[in-house]
Symmetry: C3
Subunit: 159 residues, 3 copies
């Protein structure tokens, strides 16, 4: 009858390394039987984008944002030592060498472990991102749903 522990992460950042940290903590918590939610907001939504170009109707500004933001987890930059895109390649090479999971696989693992992946509908609206542009099997919600999870949580992080 003991209740499950709960971990709730806001992923605000669009950096590859920060998203990795979020997903490593989330996967760890799920492995230790926590109920885990990652609420993707602002640039964090980019981790959920499909890598192909999906045709959807958008206004001009939304198109500009759509073009300029990375399309999917694999294309995100580093928060430090990005070196115009050379940094992520270095990190990915070194991760491969050490058999560490790259971000897209960490996201797949999270989905297999029933980590709840939520896309913030308010930011989707602002940045002009449509459901068709995001990966499958995720939920859509706003700040109220985030707070309902977070307020009964054990581990709350903003990344």
């Amino acid at each position: 009858m003991t209740e499950k522990k709960k971990t709730t992460i806001v992923l605000f950042s669009g950096d590859y390394d920060k998203a990795m940290a979020a997903y490593i903590i989330a996967n760890g918590a799920a492995a230790y039987d926590h109920e885990v939610t990652i609420f993707h907001t602002f640039w964090g939504l980019n981790a959920l984008r499909r890598d192909e170009n999906i045709k959807v109707k958008k206004g001009f500004m939304e198109k500009v944002f759509g073009k300029m933001m990375p399309r999917g987890a694999d294309k995100m930059g580093l928060s430090k030592m990005n070196f115009a895109g050379f940094g992520p390649k270095m990190i990915k090479d070194i991760m491969k060498k050490h058999n560490a999971m790259p971000l897209p696989q960490l996201i797949e693992l999270a989905q297999e472990q029933d980590v709840k992946l939520v896309a913030c509908t308010m930011t989707m609206d602002l940045l002009g991102l449509k459901e068709e542009e995001l990966i499958e099997s995720i939920e859509y919600a706003g700040v109220a749903a985030y707070l309902a999870d977070a307020e009964i949580g054990n581990v709350n992080l903003f990344i």
Copy 2:
């Protein structure tokens, strides 16, 4: 007789988008009847600066910081895609189009909802910011007061 839930946010960042996220979560939590505190420290203090130039006596280094840091919420940059100041304009245009509240109004709303806005006195001292330079109806405190709030909190975030 149930106790109020408590949300306590450290706003360290001086980025427009991160401050927006902090204030959106804070306003949401206040709407759900949480007791909410935002503790503004380091660059997060810039969100509380008045936009006019207030004459106060300062040493040289404090003047340099004062000149170089953004004067108030409306002048802060973005954490991503700032594009030398073009990014914030894009975000603000797109927010206007979507009827989303800009940061200065989010701060006003927070004050109307009794969100406690605290300025970190230690950083004010370091950066040479004076009370006259900050907006009205805020509190002044240090890390001890923050911890007293945070240790009994349900949602603690560092943004």
Copy 3:
């Protein structure tokens, strides 16, 4: 018989100012009798590097990372207004003037107050950092140990 409060901080950032914030909160919490852990991961590990060049065997990529990452707390840059290294000097001058503790002393104080400093073994492996390169009296652990601390914590922060 009341249990100690618990503060657990993930220090992901390699910025001088963010590390300062982490250590100020940690030292405050320790002074208020919390059990405090700082879990250093990714760039946050740089705060624990010794400042001398330690000879250890490394692969090429690990050498590159080792060269390019700051060697110890005193060499870290600022998250804002770094100005090619001039910012940290300004902050340090101003801190000296105000008798504020620089980061290396904040770390020493934390150790004196029994703050548990943990180096994330997974990132050490990735970035090629060896135990000999890090300061003394720290612990080595992974995400499971972090979660064990965090899930029973009062204040959890990701910095």
